[in-house]
């Protein structure tokens, strides 16, 4: 027996799905429910929010009180993984930036995401300004899938009739917290609209949604939900799909490459078991990639063969190109009106209660695309560092006795300041459209491999003036909202030297565009169904197919497009039958 042996599974699956997040989960769910035999491979361990969520734990149940040491968003956050994974590096071209967040677990990043669920609008699919390429599909073509996702998964919100912020089929939204009422008043005075949030949380029960509990308002969606009251791909798609008996999940399976035959068609994939490091191969009639935009691009580029010398899908040379994240910038402060506020349970829902959809008129602005604003603050559960701002700002307002206090301090007076300032803070963060550019990309690093021997990604991403000017506009807007609501700004106001607080590319964890869809095989990787132009039984269902995302968080569109791709596969199968 040789030392290196690949164990072949003789079974031929109707489809192999790589990745179990929003895209992979939805494709697996649709196909398994239609009776196909589906194999799903997940690089991380099995995860079921019912048993594994840290929901309702107290801060003292963590020795580090929830600090972000082993998990970037803290001990109680549901994401296994982070910006760096042991033995799985990535590199960056000098002078460029990219931060890559990977969650390795069943359900991927959907276990901890913000559940903010916005549809892309007509102008996002078919831009009128000509700045970026149009999608090969229109909003009208995607709308029926958004509608079905709304009904199947559940979303709260309100019908507003805003042209490029399409309404959905909504459950009732949670009411605003006190600081959110002040924010709304201030923002509207500043000319910025505020509407109820749109979140994938069950605020009502629905006859169409079975096996899931309704929200009980602990505000902890980031920890994932034990009663499945919010959307995680694990709880809402993969586990229910397993219950059909048609979906098999192999966890701790890191896919190495897509295998092809002499005709260039996919015949399966090979993977390494991350626990025992044994090599395996499995056969499938279709291969559906939902490994995340960059991981799927990496997999395609690493799937080189005689028929696909540059990797599958890469006859266009575009796999990895057009990588784009959202922009992000933020500002923090506190509301003197909320000092010494009355205590009550203000946890609310774990997704946004309010937000500001984009309102700007680009004919009067020096940047082409907009952003939305998300807001924070309230009487939240104490957590690591939550009062660190107090000794920095307690000198900005008079003390209880009306006299000026010296900033900082200690003792009974400081202890009282902590109580006074608790829940008085406010924050706002912009999430904007970053342009998809061919010049921003990920590629295979020619010299590096990960601990499994798989060549790793090298990133090359730079912000340009369109994003920087947008961030400047965010900061100006934040300041005017803070001013109108009577808040005191406590952040340093970032200037041109720090690109107005613009976060590094990747930091907003909205990366997409690496396997763009299009009608022309020369200028796109996939056709409008998410099917590779040059390998007809390979599909991509994560955010890779996005030609250009709007300022709308990706997940709802990933779900709608993955559903659409899965049903296209079913239609194709019917034609063959």
């Amino acid at each position: 027996m040789s030392v290196f042996q690949i164990k072949e599974n003789p079974e031929v699956f109707d489809a192999i799905v790589v990745g179990s997040g929003a895209g992979g989960g939805m494709a697996g769910y649709i196909l398994a429910n239609a009776g196909l035999k589906v194999l799903m491979l997940e690089a991380g361990p099995f995860f079921d929010p019912k048993t594994d969520a840290m929901q309702l734990r107290w801060p003292w149940e963590s020795p580090r009180r929830g600090a972000g040491v082993t998990r970037p968003f803290g001990d109680f956050d549901a994401a296994y993984g982070g910006w760096q994974l042991d033995g799985e590096p990535y590199s960056k071209v000098a002078g460029t930036e990219f931060e890559w967040f990977r969650a390795r677990m069943l359900g991927g990043r959907t276990n901890h995401w913000g559940r903010i669920s916005l549809r892309m609008g007509p102008d996002d699919f078919k831009p009128k300004d000509g700045v970026t390429d149009a999608w090969p599909i229109s909003y009208e073509e995607v709308k029926p899938f958004y509608d079905r996702v709304d009904r199947m998964i559940g979303i709260y919100g309100t019908v507003e009739g805003i042209h490029n912020e399409p309404d959905g089929i909504f459950m009732k939204p949670p009411k605003p917290r006190l600081n959110e009422l002040y924010i709304t008043k201030g923002a509207r005075k500043a000319g910025v609209p505020v509407i109820p949030g749109r979140g994938a949380v069950l605020t009502e029960s629905s006859p169409e949604i079975k096996g899931r509990g309704t929200c009980f308002y602990c505000g902890q969606c980031g920890r994932s939900c034990k009663v499945y009251g919010d959307f995680s791909s694990s709880s809402c798609l993969v586990i229910p799909a397993m219950e059909t008996g048609n979906l098999k999940v192999i966890d701790n399976a890191m896919v190495r490459e897509v295998l092809t035959n002499d005709e260039g068609l996919a015949i399966g994939v090979s993977y390494v078991d991350t626990k025992d490091l044994q090599e395996y191969s499995v056969k499938g009639k279709k291969v559906i990639l939902g490994a995340s935009a960059c991981e799927s691009a990496r997999l395609l580029l690493n799937s080189k063969s005689k028929s696909h010398p540059g990797g599958i899908g890469n006859s266009s040379g575009l796999v990895g190109k057009y990588l784009h994240d959202s922009t992000g910038a933020s500002l923090g402060g506190f509301l003197p009106q909320l000092l010494d506020r009355k205590r009550y349970n203000e946890d609310g829902a774990g997704s946004v209660h309010i937000y500001s959809p984009w309102w700007g008129d680009h004919s009067k602005l020096n940047f082409p695309r907009g952003y939305h604003i998300e807001y924070g603050g309230g009487l939240h559960m104490p957590s690591y560092g939550f009062l660190n701002f107090v000794p920095n700002v307690n000198g900005m307002v008079p003390g209880r006795n009306g006299e000026k206090r010296e900033q900082g301090g200690y003792g009974a007076g400081l202890k009282d300041d902590y109580r006074r300032f608790y829940g008085a803070n406010v924050g706002m963060a912009g999430r904007g459209t970053a342009l998809a550019r061919k010049e921003n990309y990920c590629e295979i690093d020619p010299t590096k491999v990960d601990k499994f021997g798989i060549p790793v990604l090298r990133f090359n991403y730079k912000w340009a003036d369109e994003e920087i000017q947008q961030a400047k506009h965010m900061q100006d807007t934040f300041q005017s909202i803070m001013h109108e609501m009577g808040a005191i700004i406590t952040s340093n106001i970032p200037g041109a030297d720090t690109l107005y607080g613009l976060e590094a590319p990747g930091k907003i964890i909205h990366e997409g565009g690496t396997t763009r869809m299009g009608d022309d095989p020369k200028t796109s990787v996939l056709n409008k169904w998410g099917q590779a132009h040059d390998c007809k039984n390979v599909y991509v269902v994560d955010a890779g197919p996005f030609v250009q995302q709007g300022d709308k968080n990706l997940t709802w569109t990933i779900l709608a497009l993955s559903m659409r791709t899965a049903e296209y596969i079913l239609e194709e199968n019917k034609k063959l039958a």
Binding site: R57, T70, L178, V194, C215, V390, Y410
Partner: protein
């Protein structure tokens, strides 16, 4: 599934009864025990490497007795006992800071070095290490490093050290069971969110009948 079923699924109410308080109380006691003794039991959802890491850190000792005594005195100066709650040390802050220094190694030099700075400063000023100084001497030193804007420039290193100690102390205290109760946090339990209570809305000038007040 309705909200009541959600709570049943959580095990927070027994089927057919409403004894929510009992279940919560048991949970709390377990949590408190764990924070003091370290996690001998791996909680569901905690990854293997996280559990092992925490166990290993718990078994290590970083600060000397003298340093821990210094941390205890300083944390109690920062958060003393008052009418509402106990002191930082009563809430377990020194043990928390000991853990954090092992958990986030970049804290080690600023904390250890900062205490050394403090002792040297006190030795020069009062002929004693900080914890051996009289109470009023300790307070006089703290007064020189607790107010960043009025501190003399030559005290800047002491100010930086004290700021770090103050942040670790406030986290350690207000995330303890005692501190969470003190600050009046009311959540982390199943309920129904119907918006801000009407009396609070009215006192802030908002209309309880309107969604956006």
């Amino acid at each position: 599934m309705n909200r009541r079923d959600s709570l049943k699924a959580l095990g927070l109410i027994a089927a057919g009864s409403g004894v929510l308080a009992g279940a919560c109380k048991d949970d709390k006691n377990q949590g408190a025990k764990q924070a003091v003794e370290g996690s001998s039991e791996k909680l569901p959802g905690v990854q293997e490497f996280e559990y092992k890491r925490t166990e290993a850190l718990m078994a290590e000792k970083f600060f000397t007795e003298h340093e821990l005594a210094t941390i205890t005195v300083l944390s109690d100066i920062i958060i003393p006992k008052d009418d509402v709650s106990g002191s930082a040390s009563e809430a377990g802050v020194p043990a928390f800071i000991e853990f954090m220094a092992k958990d986030i190694q970049s804290y080690q030099t600023p904390l250890r070095g900062g205490m050394k700075w403090l002792d040297v400063h006190c030795q020069k000023a009062y002929g004693n290490a900080f914890i051996k100084c009289k109470k009023e001497e300790q307070i006089a030193v703290v007064d020189e490093i607790a107010y960043p804007q009025k501190a003399r420039p030559e005290m800047a290193q002491g100010v930086a050290f004290f700021s770090l100690m103050r942040d670790l102390t406030s986290t350690g205290f207000f995330t303890s069971e005692m501190g969470v109760k003190d600050i009046g946090y009311q959540g982390n339990k199943p309920g129904v969110w119907n918006g801000v209570p009407a009396d609070v809305l009215t006192s802030h000038g908002f209309d309880p009948n309107k969604f956006f007040g």
